[in-house]
Symmetry: D2
Subunit: 360 residues, 4 copies
């Protein structure tokens, strides 16, 4: 076995140490992947309760430069001493850990515990499993492209990383709702790769089951990401927004394509729609409004922190249709986490983040 290739990883100027817990899962693994290319953040330790003591390479074969790292436990005391701690844990586990970490540590939670501002929404969608648990409270929301969020993230020491579907839906629909183009009544059908369902081995997620097949799940309003979408869209619209959200599972590992639509308000035409989106994303380094006639594909953002968006007006149906593509693990989770951490730490927002998808 050859030596670790730490020296290959370009780190320049000031660096912060990063500990990742849940490093053996898909979100945690993606954080590690991105850190391997980050000039200022250095992966200093990996943690995961169930696999503590094993080599990371057994569990994440692609993390070849980090293969010999030993996975350590993930109790709060194990996570002390890092400049940055990334929590890539199932919802419900982050809050207790985070409460015991230093206020000087930048804590980035890829789970759902600190996303919802409304205690009632939290109790309805997440509280049941933690009967009697208090609302863990909302942290600055790690979607800098939303109005006002970049300012809240600057200097923050706690960041709630958005869910992958909410990232795609918010980036698709916020400009339309903020500009008053549509009624607050949104229909979303989103196609997701299977990595969004995580690494736990379940029969319906076997390759034999998912290859060659598309399926719907959580139909009829049951997906936990719905209230998070509603929160972002309502903030943009200035009023409550109804959302019909149907996720579907498609035969690929990564990527979300969110197809969103809403009834057009009178007088809104294609030019107005395009103008609203053009203005919203003119200065965003990661969000690309495609040229007219080109439609998003998940391949074009695979492994990158980028978002591809396109908008159309359907006069016969009287609806605005917006399609957004993100990689659920990159911009939808780990990339968004690092983007927000960059802002929090005063680094260039794009530092260490891939700008080009791995295609074909």
């Amino acid at each position: 076995m050859h030596d670790p290739v730490w020296s290959c990883i370009v780190s320049t100027g000031q660096t912060w140490t990063v500990g990742v817990t849940g490093a053996t899962g898909y979100a945690g693994g993606e954080v590690c992947r991105l850190l391997a290319g980050h000039p200022h953040l250095r992966l200093a330790g990996v943690h995961a309760n169930s696999s503590a003591g094993r080599r990371l390479g057994e569990l994440q074969p692609h993390l070849l430069p980090f293969a010999d790292l030993e996975v350590r436990p993930s109790a709060p005391e194990d996570l002390a001493g890092y400049d940055v701690v990334v929590l890539a844990l199932p919802h419900g586990e982050s809050a207790a850990i985070a409460a015991q970490l230093s206020q000087d540590t930048l804590v980035v939670d890829c789970g759902a515990d600190h996303r919802l501002e409304d205690p009632a929404a939290w109790a309805r969608w997440y509280g049941g499993e933690h009967a009697g648990a208090p609302h863990p409270g909302a942290w600055p929301y790690g979607l800098p492209e939303l109005p006002g969020q970049r300012e809240k993230l600057a200097g923050a020491r706690r960041i709630a990383v958005p869910g992958c579907y909410p990232t795609s839906v918010a980036l698709a629909m916020v400009p339309a709702l903020a500009a008053g183009l549509v009624e607050p009544d949104v229909v979303v059908v989103a196609a997701s790769g299977t990595s969004g369902a995580g690494k736990a081995a379940k029969p319906h997620l076997l390759g034999s089951e998912v290859m060659g097949s598309v399926s719907a799940y959580g139909v009829g309003g049951g997906h936990r990401h719905t209230p998070e979408m509603a929160q972002s869209l309502a903030a943009a619209a200035g009023e409550p927004v109804r959302i019909s959200f149907t996720p579907t599972l498609v035969p690929m590992s990564r990527g979300i394509l969110a197809t969103c639509s809403a009834p057009l308000r009178s007088g809104v035409d294609a030019a107005a729609a395009r103008d609203a989106y053009g203005r919203a994303y003119a200065d965003e380094p990661f969000v690309h409004l495609l040229p007219e006639g080109q439609w998003p594909t998940t391949a074009q953002v695979l492994g990158a922190n980028t978002v591809a968006v396109q908008v159309a007006v359907d006069p016969d149906a009287g609806r605005l249709v917006v399609v957004a593509a993100v990689d659920n693990l990159t911009k939808g989770t780990a990339g968004g986490a690092i983007q927000s951490a960059n802002i929090a730490l005063g680094l260039p927002e794009t530092a260490g983040l891939p700008l080009v998808g791995v295609a074909p």
Copy 2:
């Protein structure tokens, strides 16, 4: 090379000869595949203009028992003499050929030429390429599950096979509209395998491009299947129906998953919805309303003439959501064609049609 295995194909009782034109494409190939298992219909000749003179096996490697058939031209005179002629041609080519075939021949058109009843709709969506061409007229519509269609197909000698998307959407939404469960304002996002786009080699359909990627196309109302959906849904609703239709391309060869929704009318609950669908499909041999809690997958209908349907009420969004899965080439095209031909010829409706999908 071994002898043709015609003798392996079980044909019992009376048989009809079938000629297939467009036999080198995906729809035509699927017709041939199904005929290999049909007890009463015998593939007697294959036709296709561009490949005339070649062995079928060069162009359709899976049709091993038919590999040595010579592809013949597809002018009307080449198609004379069959009991049944299946036209699997691009739209615009069927009408001229069909007009010259005997009225005693059962002509089954898998193309779009004879689907639309409204000349204005035909002119808008298809007429442009045939400027000044008259509307070819509508034929009995080969979707026997629609109210009244089975009767029209009995004894028919002309059948217009529905498009693959319209098959899935009509089967998903007709019961709701016929029962008045929803407003006539339907949003459809459908995921399709790539075979729906045909066999012509285009760069965006290369395996390298479609594997690992989902993309939208024809967004904003541009897909030609929209008026066909509108026709079926309006007939069921008894009033015009608005449709927002967004097709997406997913990384698999076959299958359509149509996710459809519409605003609930007041007082409609889950039980009423389930009851309407249960009654609509109680006696249908191919359409399966799944048990509560089970959602359609395209894998479960792959290669079969079956349809899997599920329905949900989303009270927060105020919408009925219906998901239907079909194989675009089987129930969505070639299987539907044979099902309708069975009816027209007085055969058992299920004769020769696979009842079980090829899964996993």
Copy 3:
């Protein structure tokens, strides 16, 4: 829910009842799928220990016509009374059950218990888990295309269905070894779809892991199918045959492509090779030697009981190269089982077996 559509399934003339145990797995499910189209064999009951009491449709969503069958236990007494019993169980479970079934019942074992003739080979490869267990004995081997096997299967009441890899390798190499074209020193690299690994949920078989990835496993001679290949090849060669076998896992659900090669004996040229294969398979209904220049694809046999074979001589390397494609679940398991059962029962060998793959 609609009524079972038993009536849709064409059964003509004499019928035999079939019970399938292990019906909730991939091999057992494929047996059920094929029985749905068999004119003489009727699926009369499904069994599986771990899921007894559940509806089959919960576990095998594609078996729509059989969805309401209740899964029953699989002890020997539960399997009494059928004309035919198909055992689709993990190796080591069949022998004990089979020993208690009537000698008049046709027992078809899709597992490995009765394949190996040599007790020492059985003890080395399978005996370890059953320390001290006696060799269960070899049954007639369900690969009718091998010299002499068809005769042994006629009238048999016990059939050992070959493994999927050994089916592909035997059909690829037996003609060459029987005709003395090559040295008895075979190198096989086979690509398999994931269904060959079964339905047990393991992390490395998740869709997220297998899509977009090819991997090797069991490298260096560790795969249990090796002695079974050696048995068939040695019988053809009339001497022991060395085999280097490397299986690889590829991102598809079904199919095996076996690439086999061996050193050419002197004087053997392409014409001699082609002639040997042409003669070997001239009268076989399921094995297709492709025309020169056309190479097998697994798509062309998907869901069918067919085999596509091609042979080449590489003069620079001094090797004969043979490629064979089968569907591991159809010809490689369940189809082969039914083909052999057809022979045993005196039915037409091709009865109920798909002759055309589901492509594209």
Copy 4:
């Protein structure tokens, strides 16, 4: 449309300008992707004859930061003025262009024109199309891991980038041949993703054809990469090496898994084999000999410049089996090109190259 995000791309210290021709193909696109993350090489222009005048974004949708670059023609005069020119052209086109570029320009040829040292081999495998054309001559071979190559690349101004298959096979077998572990008689079966076949739209490369299917091609010694493998292996072995090479096409976009084997020389055991590979790759930054028991997957190197290798001894078969995984577009083409360019320019060898695959 928002502004180009050139400023996002970290470039530090001295930079070289790079022009890429064939930028609209898969190899050229991958070069552009990697340059987007390179600290010292800056993409300064894109060229391609057939698409000159179009926006790069139309043809390479994933190259979002470069979408507005105009594609320029690719005559030699169009390529003047860059510090580095990357030729990603079909074989036969590079030599004429390269001959007219300044000797001070670093020219990196991703095509085959300058790989083969033996004029006779070149004439046999490539010369036919260019009847009478002289052998273009061999350039330093861009596989620094081969003995002695790193030294030849230092300071070079002409680099021949290896083919993707030869990269995987050389890295798999050179240590064994150099150490005399095996006879010079190698059997290779390699599985490749479809991007290796390029972006030209051909029917057999359609997604509908390749998804769910594995196929062999170029069987029997016909693939042009064979003489290139022979050249590298013979140099290591110190004698001619026979190679039986069978490429297969598998349903994924990227990646090669090469399964290689050769007869063991007497006395060679697993420890000796492992030792030879361990020593060969101990100091290589990109080649990872996996721990015992772990086998390469293409997913673990997807999009990275890494190689995963594992070795086994099969005593029954008397063969050494070696499996190597590379991404055909990254380490197999564009990444290898940049790695070699880094060496030629005196940059750190790993500069700008991804060390971690995009998995899952």
